[in-house]
Amino acid sequence: MRITREVIEHVAKLSRLSFKEKELEGFISQLNEILQYVEKLNELDTSDVPPTSHMFFTKTPMREDRVREEPSPIDRILENAPQREDNFFIVPRVIE
């Protein structure tokens, strides 16, 4: 795959990032170089190898369906809210 200006703009938009013109230019060449470097892996025939989704060769631990006894640490969590009112997080209006 080749990284074009459109790809960068699209990914930036999906990630809610904005870049200056100069930064954009830089990314096009940098990301293409990175991809080219990784392309080398394609030289290896992996048709018989199942894709790796995780580095640990074990199975996921599970918990029993139990509710924590302590109350929610609501104040400490709301400390992270850019804006709050009572127990609510407040965000810019998201409906037209």
Binding site: L14, R16, R63, R68, N87, P92, R93
Partner: protein, 477 residues
Amino acid sequence: MEYEAVIGLEFHAQLSTQSKIFCECSTKFGAEPNTQVCPVCTGLPGVLPVLNRKVVESTIMTGLALTCEIAKYCKFARKNYFYPDLPKNYQISQYEDPLAKNGVIEIPIDGTTKRIGITRVHMEEDAGKLIHPESGHVSYVDFNRTGVPLMEIVTEPDIRSPEEAYSTALTLKSILEYLEVSDCNMEEGSLRCDANISIRPKGATTLGVKTEVKNMNSFKAVQKALEYEVARQEKVLAEGGIIVQETRLWDADRGVTRSMRSKEEAHDYRYFPEPDLIPLIVDDTWINEIRARLPELPHQRKRRLQEDYGIPEYDAGVLTASKYTADFFEQAARLYSDAKSVSNWVMGELQRYLNQEGIEIQRCKVTPEKLAELLKLIDDGVISGKIAKDVFGEIFRTGEHPAAIVKAKGLVQIADEDALVPVVNRVIEENPGPVADFLSGNERTFGFLMGQAMKATKGKANPKALNKILRERLKKH
């Protein structure tokens, strides 16, 4: 041109667990905002999700009930998108490897059954709730629902009409209720249904362009929205237009679907394997253990009710469509020997009142015990079947015992000859014309005279006794 619809449904059922899918927060509905949250479900740095075993079990059980293949190895994926109801900016879901796939659901339609394929059943977490005040520039976020376990069930596009879609939804709800994996409360949003729909010339094998329809808050709404969408797509094609692939929202007040203009990027979810969760391994021992615990399913119960209680197939089908209706029937039929009569009352009077008042059977004041007691009063000749319907209405409203209502309202049936003879005599006296008509051989007039006599006793006469006395008196006339 004649068209046919091609419909696939996507359900989201909230699983009935105590705690969330990846943390120990409660899932209880209706708590104060943000009182059931923790660092895991609000996506704070440095936390790790730990999978709730019951979520896996419920999903495997559902998969087995829908005759799916259960994956021995499956993984979770991140579905990435920005929206304020999702504190992590990704939803933990399943993508390439769902826990269950390739199943079937058999639905009743037009007196026969049809098989609808089940593409997949997977686990995921719910998002939070946004509250938009009527005015102002802000929205409020409540994360209590964030991380509540959901099961997504996707059907194949095997559904060919809005009625079939309705039947599929009802059948699936019924199965989930029987399995007790979800309470399927549509008002609280614990069961939601979206649809994909396209149309094509009847007999064609290629697919038309589909639209996705959302925002339907009842199964009747699903049927109506799909009926609207079929008509709309037909009109567009008839006028030489083309169907645009898009998401449309059902507007129940206006009875229309409306395009939800959204940017294409919104659908670029960039799924990738969730690095915080190691793949889930399910072994045969566990699957078999869950299989052994599978409860009786609607179609199995239908067959059993026919055999055990000798009721017709139709009755058994209606009664078992809801687990709670079937429970009610069985409890009443154990207390009262004429099961067909119980079935008639449950499908008739009870269902009529429930529909009328919009109450669910498990929350209604008529209990199986009270219905059985009422039917015994008819058998014992205390009240007539007609009066019993009035008493039933009273039980439904007040929850009083049938015998108490009969006593308080003076509804006891009159079978006593001494009481009925004067009534009959008066009716004969007051209706010389019809009496003469009957005596000249017109049997039909008898019904009229019976009606008059019954009316004179305010419906309280024992029909058998009244019939007998009226015939005797007419003969002697």
